[in-house]
């Protein structure tokens, strides 16, 4: 247990800072509502390329795909330093934090060679094609189907809540390859060209007024056989890897940063009353503990160990923190919160999504209870029943 840099680590940090100081982007790349998404993406891509060319893009990946073979401590320093300069890669997250780790674990050599490098460089922007109108928390009940036709698969169905699909080059998609099998067994994991014929993307406007989400309609989309990852029935196991990484990625947001924004606003207004000050201090305590928890989990993972229950509670803890920070931020503004584009309007409107995206609060708690605490699974009426025999609601609207 050591929170200080060793001499080697201090040298590593200095090296990173020496690189970042002249290269870091001038303006924040973070999406905070109201921005032009295309411009945000261009900025994030350019910065990712700069990182990649210097070898700093994906240091945790294997060396042959652009990684650096860092120690657990060095990885921690790397993420701290990128945070310090306000790193943002939200629009590249699908590739960097979800698909990349999934391919590293489950992809064929050919798939890794073809996709990982360009993904690390920000050349391929990825979107997730998992959820469907009839398959949300019960993701494995998805109905989009893939039918084999010669060497290809032909995919038809509808996906929803696909972040940045309207800016993506490729999508990673779950589709049913065999409806005669129980729902978890007959799912494949495909890599789909978003510009292929039959792919139609319709943007959705969220309650913030912004657009992350999209509906994606797939009508007889041809996917080459080489773009199936794992076997035709391996999709669910891969999806679990992807979802775990998605939750870790959300859980690795900085917790002290939302606190700091609230604290700045409070100080600008000359401080808070004792009752509110205690709530702010509680928020600080939570944020500090959460950043520590997140660092602890990342240390375990970087050492190739199972991070245990700690990893499974991160995402919900981050959601709780964002909601509390947004609430305190809005209260700090007083009547100024009524104005358009107030300092905490976006945080306030965005916060509810934290307990929905990447698995709802309830689903994530279920996973933590079953995998982390060893509590028994909920009886599932669809267990062992062929998918085609299941009663369904609303899937084919």
């Amino acid at each position: 247990l050591d929170f200080d840099d060793s001499p080697d680590e201090a040298a590593f940090r200095a090296e990173m800072r020496a690189f970042l100081a002249p290269h870091a982007p001038r303006q924040a790349l973070r999406y905070r509502g109201g921005h032009d998404l295309a411009a945000t993406l261009a900025g994030q891509r350019a910065w990712q390329r700069t990182l990649f060319d210097a070898g700093w893009a994906v240091p945790a990946w294997p060396r042959e795909y652009g990684g650096r073979g860092l120690t657990a401590g060095q990885r921690q320093i790397w993420s701290e330093e990128l945070r310090r300069i306000g790193r943002a890669d939200s629009m590249l997250g699908g590739g960097l934090h979800m698909l990349g780790p999934t391919l590293i674990q489950h992809g064929s050599e050919a798939q890794k060679t073809r996709f990982l490098g360009p993904t690390a460089r920000g050349d391929i922007v990825w979107c997730q094609l998992f959820s469907e109108p009839g398959a949300g928390s019960d993701l494995a009940s998805l109905a989009t189907h893939a039918v084999r036709d010669g060497d290809d698969w032909v995919v038809t169905g509808q996906k929803v809540w696909s972040s940045f699909a309207n800016h993506a080059d490729m999508g990673f998609l779950l589709a049913r390859t065999d409806p005669s099998l129980p729902k978890h067994a007959g799912i494949g994991f495909f890599l789909v060209d978003m510009r292929a014929p039959g792919v139609e993307v319709r943007p959705l406007i969220e309650m913030t007024g912004g657009n992350h989400f999209n509906e994606v309609f797939l009508s007889g989309v041809r996917v080459p056989g080489e773009n199936l990852v794992g076997g035709p029935g391996a999709g669910w196991a891969l999806a679990r890897t992807t979802l775990m990484h998605e939750r870790l990625s959300i859980g690795s947001f900085s917790a002290l940063e939302p606190f700091a924004r609230v604290a700045d606003a409070v100080r600008d207004r000359g401080g808070a009353d004792p009752v509110t000050a205690d709530e702010l201090a509680q928020l600080y305590v939570r944020a500090r503990a959460l950043d520590l928890l997140s660092a602890r989990v990342r240390t375990q993972l970087a050492r190739g160990r199972d991070a245990g229950p700690a990893a499974l509670v991160l995402k919900n803890a981050m959601g709780d923190l964002w909601l509390a920070a947004a609430d305190l931020g809005m209260r700090t503004l007083g009547a100024d919160a009524l104005a358009a584009s107030s300092a905490f309007e976006h945080d306030f409107l965005f916060a509810p999504s934290m307990h929905i995206g990447g698995g709802t609060e309830e689903v994530v708690k279920g996973v933590a209870a079953e995998q982390g605490l060893g509590l028994p699974r909920e009886p599932d009426a669809s267990k062992g029943v062929p998918f085609e025999k299941l009663p369904r609601s609303g899937g084919a609207r």
Binding site: L1, D2, F3, D4, D5, S6, E9, A72, G73, Q76, I77, A263, V266, R267, G270, G271, A272, D273, P274, A277, D278, L280, A281, Q282, Y284, V285, R286, R288, A289, L290, L292, L293, A295, R296, T299, Q300, R303, P309, A310, V313, N316, A317, E362, K365, G366, A368, A369, E370, G372, L373, G374, L375, P376, R377, E378, P379
Partner: protein, 376 residues
């Protein structure tokens, strides 16, 4: 940067866990709760001698093991699981650290070896009563080598043969004039009034000082900063204990939820039950992370000590109270019985919140230091 324990530290943790499970499990704690001392001298001797726990953080030059606060935090965590240890916290954590930070080298040489060996049980009374760490909360007076006043709710005072008592020079105020004094357990002018109450597993007593002879430790009148540090370290030590106890509460609750069947299935398969357990787990993992960091800060004597104490004790109090409550609740009616151990944890959790100053007081200080509190 390394947020993981070494293999040696993990082995040490395992050896303490085995010892506690065999020699000082909660069933034994419960039996001893009704006894005079609250601990079994033979087991104390083993804990101190064979395991060397009481001397963990004492330097080898003074007869200790020469480990750091990190190892001490592991021992506290493991003892906390079973609410075990009796006078360990007061002796090996509070008193050892007070002596190390206040006493001269010669005084340390005179006292620490007996604490390290477990021969002397000691305790520390800084404030006149548990509360925020303010020097004005010390009103006990020291006059011509004798102490006058009262210290309330002193941990294991009735077991201690050495009491370390903070008192001030007559007429002094604030941080000035505070010194630490050694008082022998059987001294004349010292009256101990046992204060059994909420927490059945920790011995407390009110200490009445009516001219008890005392020897000053360290320099006259300047002990407050070191005592304030000791109290902050104490809060961090308490957080380690709280984390161990919270983890045990959750284990008990989960084990029951897996076994107990209603409506034809284990109650732990119901979402409503799972979610309560995970709420406790989330707080526990946050608290564990904060307590580990706190222990590291304490081991470094870093300037972040006050912040670490506020963070660790605040979140660990919350985590332990939540886990202790859920342990009762998830056991249903059985959890509400005297016979079940859940109430021992529930009582301890609430007592730990106030034993060394409420987390609210820590947070008030934190808010002030972060510039969040408006001037009144």
């Amino acid at each position: 940067v390394n947020f993981a324990w070494s293999e040696e530290q993990e082995e040490f943790r395992a050896s303490v866990r085995r010892f506690v499970a065999e020699r000082w499990p909660i069933a034994e704690v419960r039996r001893l709760a009704a006894s005079e001392r609250g601990y079994e001298p033979a087991v104390w001797k083993q804990l101190a001698g064979e395991l060397g726990l009481t001397g963990l953080a004492v330097p080898e030059t003074h007869g200790g093991q020469g480990f750091s606060w990190l190892e001490l935090s592991i021992a506290l965590d493991e003892l906390g699981r079973e609410l075990a240890g009796g006078p360990f916290f007061a002796t090996a954590c509070l008193s050892v650290r007070a002596l190390q930070q206040v006493a001269t080298v010669a005084e340390q040489a005179a006292h620490l070896p007996a604490l390290a060996s477990g021969e002397t049980i000691a305790t520390l009374a800084v404030l006149d009563a548990p509360g925020p760490a303010q020097p004005d909360a010390i009103r006990c007076r020291a006059e011509r080598g004798r102490l006058f006043g009262e210290k309330r709710f002193v941990i294991d005072a009735q077991n201690a043969s050495l009491l370390l008592v903070a008192a001030r020079e007559p007429g002094s105020g604030g941080a000035d004039g505070v010194a630490l004094f050694a008082v022998d357990g059987g001294a004349s002018g010292l009256r101990l009034e046992p204060a059994p109450g909420l927490d059945l597993t920790r011995r407390l007593a009110h200490v009445h000082l009516d001219g008890a002879p005392a020897r000053r430790l360290g320099a006259p009148g300047s002990a407050w900063p070191a005592l304030a540090r000791t109290l902050a370290e104490g809060a961090i030590g308490l957080a380690s204990e709280q984390v161990g106890a919270a983890a045990r509460c959750l284990e008990l609750a989960v084990a029951h939820a897996r076994e107990r069947h209603q409506f034809g299935r284990p109650i732990g398969s119901f979402q409503a039950v799972k979610h309560r357990a995970v709420d406790a787990l989330t707080l526990l993992e946050l608290a564990r992370s904060a307590a580990w960091w706190g222990a590291w800060v304490a081991s470094r004597g870093s300037e972040q000590l006050d912040e670490a104490a506020a963070v660790a004790h605040s979140i660990a109090s919350e985590a332990f109270e939540k886990a202790a409550y859920e342990c009762i609740h998830l056991h249903g009616g059985m959890g509400f019985t005297w016979e079940h151990d859940a109430h021992l944890y529930y009582r301890r959790a609430r007592a730990d919140r106030v034993l060394l100053g409420d987390p609210g007081a820590h947070r008030a200080e934190l808010a002030r230091s972060l510039g969040l509190l408006a001037p009144l």
